[in-house]
């Protein structure tokens, strides 16, 4: 006892000191990583001459002028296109992906792993390798600059992720529950609707979130396959940048508004984010 007491105290102090030190480091890093986003948000509330000043302007009277300018400049067409491309493709992904995941888990087909392998391998095909034929074929079918082309492509882009993710949720449903339902005389549709779907609803929500993030942020297809009619929000930002490159504050306002839906969704659903990004491999 008498030996232990003096040995413990410095160590405890030491530990408290190093814990405080680590906490400080963590906070500094968190602020450092977050700072560019904060700077973008700050700049969006500035006047142009404050945004591009040397030295940078740190204190200013915030203004909503830039947001007003962004929203007035016909940007709603782009937002509408993005909403259609993101929303419809996500619904299609779920309509196709949930039954597929069911057929790969609960009442599985033969060769489950081959099918899973195929789905994931399409994700590894670089998009740049298929952009040329997609462009040519879309041109021949007269669907260039058509929002439904993006809907189809975004559905294909997200479907493999959704199948893997949904399967990882279906696998967790205990078999006994489904057996009990079938013993109670519930038919397949009934079991699906009143037993299975409620149990995997959080999984469906998480899958939808991931699909929304990827579709909303997608730029490569949108850049190459749209012009004036079907252009989405990322394209709007780029055209703002090239045509009005010097309007930094307005650019930041547009970038902030464009990023905000995904940032908020990601903040709310942090847990599901990990699972989705690892395609269900990590919880």
């Amino acid at each position: 006892m008498s030996v232990a007491t003096p040995a413990v105290t410095p160590r405890a102090t030491n530990r408290r000191f190093s814990s405080g030190f680590l906490t400080t480091v963590t906070w500094l890093l968190a602020i450092g990583f977050f700072f560019p986003v904060a700077w973008m948000a700050m700049t969006a509330f500035k006047q142009e001459n404050q945004a591009a000043s040397d030295p940078p302007t740190w204190f200013f009277a915030p203004t909503l002028d830039q947001f007003r300018a962004v929203l007035e400049g016909g940007s709603m067409v782009y937002v509408g296109n993005s909403v259609i491309a993101t929303g419809v493709s996500t619904v299609l992904v779920l309509l196709l992906g949930v039954p597929a995941a069911y057929a790969l888990s609960i009442r599985p087909v033969k060769k489950v792993s081959d099918v899973l392998f195929f789905f994931i391998s399409t994700k590894m095909l670089p998009v740049v390798a298929v952009i040329v034929p997609i462009y040519v074929v879309a041109g021949q079918l007269k669907v260039l600059d058509n929002i439904w082309t993006l809907v189809v492509l975004y559905t294909a882009m997200n479907l493999p992720i959704a199948v893997w993710m949904m399967r990882s949720f279906f696998i967790e449903v205990p078999g006994e529950v489904l057996e009990a339902a079938s013993i109670d005389g519930a038919g397949l549709m009934r079991t699906m609707r009143s037993v299975l779907l409620p149990m995997v609803a959080p999984g469906i929500a998480a899958t939808a979130l991931i699909c929304v993030i990827f579709a909303w942020n997608e730029f490569f297809f949108a850049l190459n396959l749209t012009a004036s009619q079907a252009a989405t929000v990322p394209v709007l930002i780029v055209s703002t940048m090239t045509s009005e490159g010097l309007f930094l504050a307005r650019l930041c306002a547009a970038a902030l508004l464009a990023s905000l839906p995904v940032i908020l969704a990601g903040w709310i659903a942090q847990k599901q984010l990990v699972r989705g990004l690892s395609m269900g491999a990590i919880k």
């Binding site: 560019p36 039954p99 597929a100 390798a129 930002i237 990023s259 990990v274």
Partner: protein
């Protein structure tokens, strides 16, 4: 090996759930099971595989995007051109540098941040929320933010900060284009790695850590002998998923440097895009696409094996 384990798992599930065993599933039942899968499967084959078959077809032709009637079979000459194309080699090298540079730096930073976040402290969830934000910003917005607001030579925040330390202003995107792109990419991907590693840390069995501490193992020893081996699977998964995503990087390059100066910072996706949509050379672009796919398959087969292994451990 790993796939057969999944089969076995499936097999046991199937046996547990239905009376019919694998062998006695009737033909009708087989189709009933396949039914829900087919729409997704057929859709994916049509939208993702057919274009690739066309890519191979185009790669054997000389074809101009603006004059589709100029289609001419040229055999493997597009591929021979690639072999002679020093720009292709340079952009391929850039692809490797940008992908590996981004993934490795982001992983090291991600591990450090995950370890820092895996301790109780005041405001931890706020700090985590702040740290994941870079990953959620639209990549196009990220590029704007870095190239215009942070790295701009005259009013960018970076040069102003350098100036505080008495250092010369640098025109980042034209003097160090690859480094400028890497900065934006690492900033975006570090949170991704951090989230995966953090999930790994939190899945660590607590009793093992307690046992180690009771046995008198110090922090460093515990980390090296217990935590790091446990994290290995998560780190591998993060690196490989990171490679798959980052190798396709286009937005940042298109917006921050346009591949320049010259082709100094172009990667393969950007170079192929240039050949197809600015050079209108469909055959060349398609052949490059095929080469990229072959290279990707080599990397991807390693990735797939790993993802399957991850699933196996989980279940």
């Amino acid at each position: 090996m790993s796939t057969s384990t999944i089969d076995r798992l499936e097999g046991s599930r199937r046996a547990a759930r239905t009376e019919a065993s694998d062998r006695t599933i009737s033909r009708a039942e087989g189709w009933r099971r396949r039914g829900p899968l087919l729409p997704a499967l057929i859709f994916t084959i049509i939208v993702t595989q057919l274009p690739f078959v066309l890519t191979i077809w185009y790669s054997l032709h000389s074809r101009n995007l603006l004059r589709p009637e100029s289609d001419l079979f040229v055999g493997f000459s597009n591929y021979l051109d690639i072999a002679r194309d020093s720009t292709f080699r340079q952009t391929a090298l850039n692809s490797v540098v940008i992908t590996l540079g981004c993934v490795l730096v982001a992983m090291v930073l991600g591990i450090v941040l995950a370890l820092l976040l895996d301790r109780p402290f005041f405001g931890r969830s706020v700090a985590r929320t702040m740290l994941i934000t870079p990953f959620l910003v639209m990549p196009v917005a990220t590029s704007v933010l870095w190239s215009v607001a942070l790295l701009n030579p005259t009013y960018g925040l970076f040069n102003w900060t350098l100036g505080l330390f008495g250092l010369e202003a640098v025109d980042w995107t034209s003097t160090y284009p690859v480094i400028a792109i890497l900065m934006a990419l690492v900033w975006q991907w570090t949170p991704f790695m951090m989230l995966l590693v953090l999930a790994g840390l939190q899945a660590q069995p607590k009793d093992v850590l307690e046992a180690a501490s009771v046995d008198g193992a110090g922090t460093w020893l515990t980390f090296r002998l217990i935590t790091l081996p446990h994290l290995r699977r998560y780190i591998e998964l993060g690196v490989l998923l990171g490679i798959i995503y980052v190798v396709n990087t286009f937005d940042q390059i298109y917006l921050m440097t346009a591949g320049g100066p010259g082709t100094a910072s172009a990667n393969l996706p950007f170079y192929i895009y240039q050949r197809a949509f600015l050079g209108f050379d469909v055959g060349q672009a398609a052949a490059m696409g095929v080469v990229v796919v072959i290279a990707t398959i080599i990397v991807a087969s390693a990735a797939l094996r790993l993802i399957f292994r991850s699933f196996e451990v989980k279940e």
